[in-house]
């Protein structure tokens, strides 16, 4: 199944290490019990009685996002108005029912799933995740709740319709999808004529239907979808000894839980109550549900996505804008405060004690600036959001965490911008202010800062635009911002390009409008370009700038 690289997660693996050190070893449940030990289950849950399940909601047919509760979809708790459905969701529903728990679905970025699990933000990952040796070091997996076999899709009326081993495909013309391990598996068929790899399912389907290929390699869910949509097609499954040897590639998916979680045995027990036939039927149902009609062309698809997910796009855009705006304002205030503080003259000889504390605080500020400027915001998000939960059991709302992280980041950048702006003001300005008796504070507020702020406005506007775009990394902490919404739409419809086109238009409109508004403010702050010469005897006349 999903084998994305987990480099980001690995950078945070020390979280996991510390976690395993502080988690007491819990005793294993007596597996002979027919019923469930409800006390033990509740003890293992973050919130007794509720099973919190994390998933991406963008990986159809396993999990996807929709805007209504139709067909048994479950509302996503951290994104009101958005519903999750798919094979994983229905499995989760069954598990919760069997274990007598209330189900809560939490939408998280793929990279956010492991830390969310380890920090206790969620109790289980049911997200089309395959147990791999690396993952098993940090996560305990249940038995498989779906086994995705490798199958061959053929025409119902072809000679291969009755095949039951890959040997039966001797000398056949077979294709598979580009850049997948499926394409490499073709070589296992004796005397095979491997066809050119294709870049999409429709292309492979057309190839088989037209007779250019005899079969294409697919995983079972994809094959189900194809055969459901095309009555002329069928797919051939193989039993263990007659099929493809997939070697290291794991095609099963399982429920992920915390290491040594007491939930493991109850979950396995509950899974065992769902028969293979039920699972196949469920997958079949979900594939059919996810089936859409014929594509109506590129713009038709864009329209369709907008009709389905438009409200979610707007919610995402609104959140993105709110986070960027508030964070830029708070961050600028932090940055301005720091820049003012660092401009205070403290005389070492006159006030040795205040000088010491001034320098001490100054050092802390420098550490803050260096740390936040020197680390990626995504890493900070992970550490602050999941770390605060893991180590201090602080449950921040994702929006609060987002505002905090972006503000603090902006503050670190902007303080240097303001410092440069203040240093860039001619020394004569502050000397003239001093010379008429102004204190440092008065000179700052009436003379220096108005000029410095005016000069730094373009940089502040730039920071705002950067923040609009940078909020996209916040999907790792499950903030429903524009990028996260886009990924859900893309993953649920398989129309990636169309979804991201919509997103890029929204991003562009937001940044373009913002830039224009800021330009207006800058002009306003520059004052008028002309002034009126007052004369007692004649009418006032206006002098344009530069006419001297």
């Amino acid at each position: 199944m999903k084998n994305k690289t987990w480099t980001r997660w690995l950078t945070l693996s020390f979280l996991a290490l510390i976690f395993t050190l502080i988690t007491p070893l819990t005793s294993t449940i007596n597996a002979q019990d027919e019923s469930y030990d409800q006390n033990l289950i509740n003890e293992a849950l973050e919130e007794p009685g509720t099973l919190k399940v994390g998933m991406e909601a963008n990986y159809a047919p396993f999990n996807w996002s929709q805007t209504s509760s139709s067909n048994g979809a479950v509302e996503i708790s951290n994104s009101p108005g958005e519903y999750a459905n798919g094979y994983d969701v229905q499995m989760a529903v069954r598990l919760a029912e069997e274990l007598n728990l209330t189900l809560e679905i939490i939408k998280l970025d793929w990279d956010g799933l492991p830390p969310a699990l380890e920090s206790g933000m969620i109790d289980a990952v049911i997200a089309g995740m395959s147990p791999t040796p690396e993952r098993e070091r940090q996560i305990d997996f249940s038995n498989a709740y779906y086994n995705s076999e490798i199958v061959l899709v053929v025409r119902e009326d072809s000679n291969y319709a009755a095949a039951n081993s890959i040997g039966d495909f001797d000398s056949a013309r077979v294709t598979a999808q580009l850049n997948t391990f499926h394409y490499d598996l073709i070589e296992q068929i004796p005397n095979v004529h491997r066809q050119t790899a294709m870049d999409s399912f429709p292309a492979m389907i057309t190839s088989v239907l037209s007779g250019k290929s005899d079969a294409y390699v697919s995983e079972a869910p994809g094959a189900m979808a194809a055969t459901a949509a095309n009555s002329d097609l069928m797919y051939i499954t193989f039993d263990e000894n007659n099929g493809f040897d997939t070697g290291q590639v794991n095609t099963s998916i399982a429920v992920g839980m915390q290491k040594d979680s007491p939930l493991l045995d109850p979950v396995n027990q509950a899974l065992s109550t769902i028969s293979q036939a039920d699972r196949d039927q469920l997958m079949n149902d979900m594939v059919l549900l996810n089936e859409r009609g014929e594509s109506t062309g590129f713009w038709g698809d864009v329209r369709e996505i907008w009709d389905m997910y438009g409200s979610q796009f707007l919610v995402g855009a609104r959140n993105t804008l709110i986070i960027a705006l508030i964070s830029t304002v708070i961050g600028s205030t932090i940055g301005l405060g720091i820049a003012i503080y660092r401009s205070i003259p403290v005389d070492k000889k006159r006030n040795p004690i205040s000088y010491f504390f001034y320098k001490l605080f100054d050092l802390l500020i420098m550490v803050y600036i260096e740390i936040f400027r020197g680390t990626p915001m995504m890493v900070q998000s992970m550490l602050i959001f999941y770390g605060s939960k893991l180590f201090f059991n602080i449950d921040m709302s994702p929006l609060f965490a987002a505002l905090l992280i972006v503000s603090v980041n902006t503050g670190a950048y902007i303080s240097e911008v303001f410092r440069g702006g203040i240093m860039g003001i001619d020394k004569g300005q502050s000397e003239a202010a001093k010379a008429i008796g102004m204190s440092h504070f008065q000179s700052m507020t009436t003379v220096i800062l108005p000029q410095a702020i005016r000069n730094t406005l373009p940089a502040l506007g730039n920071e705002f635009v950067i923040n609009i775009k940078d909020t996209s990394v916040l999907n790792v902490i499950a903030v429903t911002e524009l990028f996260f919404v886009t990924r859900s739409a893309a993953g649920s419809t398989y129309m990636t390009f169309q979804s991201f086109l919509i997103a890029s238009i929204i991003y562009f409109v937001m940044t373009f409008v913002t830039t224009r508004l800021l330009r207006l403010i800058e002009n306003y702050m520059s004052g008028s370009a002309s002034y009126t010469v007052h004369e007692s005897s004649t009418m006032p006349k206006t002098v344009e700038r530069g006419s001297l």
């Binding site: 004569g428 000397e431 009436t446 003379v447 108005p450 002034y531 007052h534 002098v543 700038r545 001297l548």
Partner: protein, 248 residues
């Protein structure tokens, strides 16, 4: 009966190892117009900047009406408001109009009402001939105009002493006259002024006393006529000769 406003005693100023002012003794009486002359780097600006505490003296003392302004408890900002300064580079507040430049200090430091401050500011702008330009911002005016507004700004604080540090050196030659005329008028009104200048004509015609500085010390000081026409110090003679030949 003249009364002493400022009294400088054994003033010394160092920048690191560089001893810039050595043992300066110097008094300013009410109504005096003092010209400070001397070659570049002799410490004229530093002395002026020490007088209104833009630089902190390394040792020695400055008394204002008999009180040490260097004492820890002394309100130095209040003192600065009483001793105005006109800079070589004008240093008008770039974010304010001419009028605002002249009112901001009055309102913030002297607690005058906005209306009162504007009235006083306009009187002073009128005096320097810049009242028609009260709504202009510094970058919309010429150097001479800016310097005259800077003088109006300083005057609006009702200073007891006004310090000028080469007020015409940064100006195009055709604008020097308008600023010197303004300063001459102020001197005639009886304003106490200390002027660092290279304008020998101004020093000769307007000031009551001339101070010649050389290498961080006051080499010679006395009534204008005596210093300009009968200097005793060799260095003074040399300096004046150079200037008088240059200007003829």
């Amino acid at each position: 009966m003249s009364k002493t406003i400022l009294e400088v005693q054994h003033l010394e100023k160092r920048f690191g190892d560089n001893l810039v002012l050595k043992d300066i003794d110097f008094e300013v009486e009410a109504g005096e117009v003092i010209s400070i002359i001397g070659s570049s780097g002799s410490g004229k600006s530093t002395l002026l900047r020490c007088l209104n505490l833009l630089e902190t003296p390394t040792s020695g003392d400055i008394l204002y009406h008999g009180d040490s302004i260097l004492a820890r408890s002394y309100d130095q900002n209040k003192y600065r408001a009483k001793v105005g300064m006109v800079f070589q580079g004008f240093n008008l507040f770039k974010n304010m109009t001419a009028l605002k430049n002249c009112t901001v200090g009055q309102v913030k430091i002297l607690d005058r009402s906005q209306a009162e401050a504007e009235k006083i500011a306009l009187e002073n702008l009128e005096k320097v001939g810049m009242a028609p330009y009260r709504d202009a911002r510094p970058d919309q005016l010429s150097g001479g105009q800016q310097q005259r507004i800077a003088i109006a700004r300083a005057l609006s604080m009702n200073p007891e002493v006004l310090l000028f540090d080469e007020p015409t050196s940064a100006l195009d030659p055709e604008m020097v006259g308008e600023v010197l005329d303004t300063m001459t008028a102020l001197a005639r009104e009886g304003l106490t002024m200390i002027v660092v200048t290279h304008e020998m004509a101004f020093a000769r015609d307007v000031s009551s006393r001339v101070v010649f500085m050389d290498k961080g010390v006051i080499a010679e000081s006395g009534p204008t006529d005596q210093i300009i026409n009968n200097p005793e110090n060799e260095r003074t003679k040399e300096f004046l000769n150079r200037y008088l030949t240059e200007n003829k």
